[in-house]
Symmetry: C2
Subunit: 286 residues, 2 copies
Amino acid sequence: MSDRTFRLSEAGRANSIARVKALPLGIFDSGVGGLTVVRAVQALLPSEDILYLGDTARLPYGSKSPETIRQFADEDARFLVARGVKAIVVACNTATAHALAGLREHYQLPIIGVIEAGVDAALANPDAVRIGIIATRGTIRSHAYQHALALRRTGLVIHGQAAPLLVPLVEENWMDHPATLMVLQTYLEPLIDKGIDTLLLACTHYPLLIPGLRDLLPPDVRLVDSATTCAEHLKRELVRLNLLAPAGNDGKLEIHLTDLSEEFEGLARRFLTKPPGRIHLASLGC
Amino acid sequence: MSDRTFRLSEAGRANSIARVKALPLGIFDSGVGGLTVVRAVQALLPSEDILYLGDTARLPYGSKSPETIRQFADEDARFLVARGVKAIVVACNTATAHALAGLREHYQLPIIGVIEAGVDAALANPDAVRIGIIATRGTIRSHAYQHALALRRTGLVIHGQAAPLLVPLVEENWMDHPATLMVLQTYLEPLIDKGIDTLLLACTHYPLLIPGLRDLLPPDVRLVDSATTCAEHLKRELVRLNLLAPAGNDGKLEIHLTDLSEEFEGLARRFLTKPPGRIHLASLGC
């Protein structure tokens, strides 16, 4: 009798684990830049359903204060938790830098940030010593990457460079415009002068600038982009926690934005490989 | 007796008009760009007290949808009305374009927008026929300037050019950077090709780009900037409504921002002539 009860509850437990595995991943960003992370996750984990939230009504986060960024990130996470996601990816460097620790305290589910992933990937090369970071002003100012790198390897020489014009240039679709190359050059020069061996792209918009960056950087500088590395890190975490979606599931993507406009829809299409389908208007209900 | 009562109530009326005149002007913008309007108002109307609200937590408005812009503008106006201003200046082109009519319906006080002022000034020259407008995408898309111009003079040839990178470039303080000149050139070329005789700077950040614009434009193109013209328009309205502050008052400025950061404070200082004093953190209390 007690043996039978035990077997039933084992089955019940397996059943509820299976239900959790089938839940969507929640991914949020201040805007549509985090869709580069979605694209990388779709490529690496095609069975996962994804619920994406972009806080386009209040973007960008990069120039705002730590208190405001924490409040916004908390509202973003609450939106996803209320919709029953199994894990959250903070696909926004600024929000990861300021809010990740607080979110992990408040919410009882795995929360993955872009920073740890980028730092892992940057240090995967044992010869990486002189590391440049480009990011929004908020991310650079937070010293989150600098701190995470310094904790992981002693003797690193780290140079952070705020590059606030790169997001607007990508959003203007001027990846090949000569002005963009000139802006990139202005931002990269001090890093090149310092002899960096690795450049960490610490903003989800920047993967679209890789061709231009490649042209301007010495050929031996390694580029590490936070979108791809974040997807790889997420996969390792889902495997470790036994939370991978059933293989063979055809992963769906549902996009919610707090403000809809033609630009955002256009950008969303450019940032993704597959068409995004209908985009929903989200209210963070304040 | 009845004569005495009449005289008293006349005195009471005069007294309450005097009280209204002494109230501050309310000026709001999505961020700190509207401080170029404040600077122009301080120069022209030095006796006026000014209460400024910059919605830095949610800037920029220029790329957001009409519904969202209207909601934000309404919250901004409500903040100022609750603090007892005598009139409101919408020092944000995007908010003027989308929300001015709605605000005038909702609130019982004079509300002045930047667009009417700019259009007045552009058409002050009777020979103005081919008019170029540069602005954020939201302002251009709204067709508010195009519409206001077309209503005022027949036979105008109007060309709107969205210039979304100019605000970030000004905020990066790159007014003289070669990349900025290249960006300006890209935006101006189609307007120059069309033979404009007047260029309307329909964004409060743009006055800081006037030297670069002057270098790139043919010498006979007239530049009309919305900050100066808005202050002149405001003065005419205050005179007309008998609402000018008592002469000799030493006008004070109180700045409220929905998000405080070093950048915003630094920008505020650059946009103003006089030091702004302590900047307050505003909550739009939703």
